[in-house]
Amino acid sequence: MRYLSHTPEDLSIMLEAVGVRDLDELFSTIPDDCKRENPLDLPEMTEWELNDHMAALAGRMVSGADYKVFAGAGSYHHYIPEVTRYLLSRSEFVTAYTPYQPEISQGTLQGIFEYQTLICRLLGMDVANASLYDGAMAVAEALLMAIRISRRKKTVAVSSLVNPYYRKVVETYFKPTEFHVVELPYREDGTTDLSGLDRIDDLAGVAIQSPNFFGCIEDLAAAGQAIHDQGAVFITCFSEPLAYGVLKAPGALDADIVCGEGQSLGIPQSFGGPGVGIFAAKQQYVRNLPGRLVGQTVDADGKRGFVLTLSTREQHIRREKATSNICSNQSLCAMAAGMYMAALGGTGFRELAALNRDKAEYLKFALQDAGLEVPFATATFNEFVVKFPDGFDQKWQTLLQKKILAGIPLVCYYPELANHYLLCVTETRSKDDMDALVKEVQS
């Protein structure tokens, strides 16, 4: 077996040194009735067989490469430059553990410090952590953090236009606690209705997504005002961070915590994971942050270097009083996001964001010209909702056979929105792809 190096000779020398007769005797401290009655029964493949087997499995997948996918909803098909894929495969990054020994982990540490910095610049925030698992968990952690900041107020509110899967994860995290989650309705223009905020007692924090699940850009300045008027923590979240290439940064709109999913930043969709949970906050809340932080310091010779820091917030020191239970995070994905942001640069990031918006607008207007309804009037980035005529679900299936995924049906998340579909256009869709879609839905 190529991953194991002991020869029979090695084994006998080592067994003798340990003072046991055979390998089984190494396990003699384990009581017999804790042991397996039957041996393992697993298939074993050569590398050749594995390649064939995995190619067959991967072959039974729809990939963004050969389908025209017009779906986002929290997972986005963006082009990943070869240079970031290549650099990310450096095994010194890939095969290292958490940087507990900073002297031989400066590569990871500076890379994550740069990631934290670029995330702060993207979102207009003071501090960002080294990553959480995903956007959904980040929102749950943000709401728990709001409760800590509020000194144990018991209620949080979440917009019904926060990604429905994020809200489900919030529900899981909150179920065994004494805290309550209130859902805020949406208005006819496809944005969150905050008019009932003053009727919610004991409000610790409010989470709004922008662009929201309908793709609509929320009026975060007004939302922030309304939320701060109630003395609550203002949380904004996102599933498409590329939007901040052209949108005002949430930090400039007085958000207290900004969090979400960073898959769009150079990470493959990979059937939903791994992505990266992005988490940033105002400086005043730094000691309330969940997760790891990389900080700059100096070594014994006064040379610049980096360490994991403020770890008294974390589980390995504070145990049950930690700000979160997270230990391993999504470090390599954060590194990928850092590389991607650096590859695009400020200029490229802005241009790419603008291109996403341009293309999505093109399709939106083309569909409107074709007589379809765009029910929410609010401005959007690269996703928007279209209402199709009755019976479109069959057409949607037909399109699938023609290798076009014409958006995500919204009725399974919002029962009142029959025939409404959420469409997404990124830089990977061409004008021809969009013209073909428009032609198909008209026919």
Binding site: S5, R36, S63
Partner: protein, 484 residues
């Protein structure tokens, strides 16, 4: 001693990203625009992020230089206790990067993602089989979320039984994530003291277990590297009060093909794919923390779950007792592909993996116990725990030993954990190391013990070979500088 691996090479300095580059450069090929511009309304538009602009060449130099400041399993032996830093097979990377997987949108209809669903289904069954339990969910994103899933299952089970419970028993050797995960579920952690032989004794559990206690979280093998030999008796005590037994599977690499966790009385076990099943740690993640359960707890597993229907696979939400969703989609699928590839490659040789891992740890224990203090001189599992007691008189600490190992080209072991051993040095060689590597490590540890006696400054001032020397962690925490 053979010539050490550690040496000084040419180490290149590298500034921050934003200290490089020049406005207008780019490392990205923008697709040719084929539609008219449609700028945002002015009141919504921002200025765009203040990122540095770098050319592709600058980008490559930057990250290549950074990477050379890191030590990975591919660089050398990484005997980090409780972390199972085994070799990460390269074929796993190839499989995970197949375009059918990387390009897959998670919300396509199930008939268009049969390959991924089959892989998840098969992986869950293989993991449950290795554990000796009945069902598994691969949704948790890392070990701590696997623990959280376990605790949520405890809470849901007791609610379903009609009475919520408020306490949980956790041994004093546990990882910090255990009490933190339990606290998220509202459980109050009650510490159980380890017995004189380094394992839990049933009497200690008996004295604390009551009908307001949800159950116990046991790491087995524990963090002293010892198998909890009384696990069945402890499980019986907990079950008698209708409590549940959770096993932290961080150390599963010791007992694959040997232990049947179901027979041992365990109800819930979490597994780290990034430890036992060879997926890379990536400098701290992404990992994956599947949770395995006995039959009666299967209804509580996270949803959606992959079910087999006819000759195909589907995602089902139809589990009314489920603790719910832990991840926006289905977990860290890319990591699952790697672990699945490893399991299919190893097959029943997973047992050889555990045997070699345990042999290597015992071999190191035998060869070092005359120079380093061994608090529990008994046969160990996949890791052995020493302390710095013999070195104290030379004013040399565990930290100094660890840092000196760096100069010799080894990654240090886990240090100062478990907390129950003062100055702990926790060595987990894994099955990946050859006998020559292990002998070199042993010779180095012995050399360091000698240096501690003869020239302690060599240790106290270590490391000298890496790019930076010991870091001022106090300053980092006192005046946090978290961004540039």
């Amino acid at each position: 001693m053979k010539e050490p691996v550690g040496t000084r090479g040419l180490i290149l300095n590298e500034p921050f990203l934003w200290e490089r580059g020049g406005k207008g450069r780019t490392g990205y090929s923008l697709p040719r625009p084929d539609v008219d511009p449609a700028p945002l309304p002015e009141d919504l538009a921002g200025d765009g992020p203040d990122f540095p602009d770098l050319s592709e060449v600058e980008l490559v130099r930057h990250y290549t230089r950074l990477s050379t400041w890191n030590y990975g399993v591919d660089s050398g032996m990484y005997p980090l206790g409780s972390c199972t830093m085994k070799y990460n097979p390269k074929t796993n990377e190839r499989q995970a990067s197949l375009p059918g997987f990387t390009g897959a949108h998670p919300l396509v209809p199930s008939e268009l993602c049969q390959g991924a669903l089959e892989l998840i289904y098969e992986l869950e069954h293989s993991l449950a089989h290795v554990a000796g339990l009945d069902a598994a969910s691969v949704q948790p994103s890392a070990g701590a979320q696997g623990e959280l899933a376990g605790m949520l299952i405890f809470a849901a089970y007791h609610r379903d039984q009609g009475k919520a419970r408020s306490k949980i028993l956790i041994p004093d050797t546990a990882h910090g994530t255990n009490p933190a995960s339990a606290a998220l579920c509202g459980f109050k952690a009650v510490s159980v003291a380890t017995g004189p032989d380094g394992v839990l004794v049933p009497e200690a559990v008996e004295a604390l277990m009551d009908e307001d206690t949800a159950g116990i979280m046991v790491t087995n093998p524990n963090t002293l590297g010892l198998f909890e030999t009384n696990i069945q008796a402890i499980a019986d005590i907990v079950h008698a009060k209708d409590g549940l037994v959770y096993a932290d599977g961080a150390n599963l690499n010791a007992v694959m093909g040997v232990v049947d966790f179901g027979r041992a009385g365990v109800d819930v076990l979490h597994i780290n794919l990034h430890k036992t099943f060879s997926t890379p740690h990536g400098g701290g993640g992404p990992g994956s923390g599947p949770v395995c359960v006995v039959k009666r707890l299967e209804p509580f597993l996270p949803a959606p779950r992959v079910v087999k229907s006819g000759d195909g696979y589907a995602l089902s939400e139809d589990f009314p007792k489920s603790i719910g969703k832990l991840h926006a989609f289905y977990g860290n699928f890319g990591i699952m592909v790697r672990a699945y590839s490893y399991i299919r490659t190893m097959g029943n040789k997973l047992k050889d993996v555990s045997q070699h891992a345990v042999l290597n740890a015992n071999y190191i224990k035998e060869k070092l116990k005359d120079v380093y203090h061994l608090p529990f001189d008994v046969p160990c599992m996949h890791e052995c725990v020493f302390s710095d007691k013999h070195q104290e008189k030379y004013k040399v600490t565990t930290l100094d030993v660890a840092k000196r190992l760096i100069d010799y080209g080894f990654h240090p072991p886990t240090i100062y954990f478990p907390l129950v051993v003062h100055g702990a040095i926790m060595i987990e060689p894994t099955e990946s190391e050859s006998r020559e590597n292990i002998d070199q490590f042993i010779a180095t540890m012995r050399q360091i013990a000698k240096e501690a006696q003869e020239d302690p400054a060599l240790l106290q001032e270590a490391p000298r070979n890496p790019k930076v020397r010991r870091m001022d962690e106090t300053q980092a925490a006192r005046k946090p500088c978290l961004r540039g």
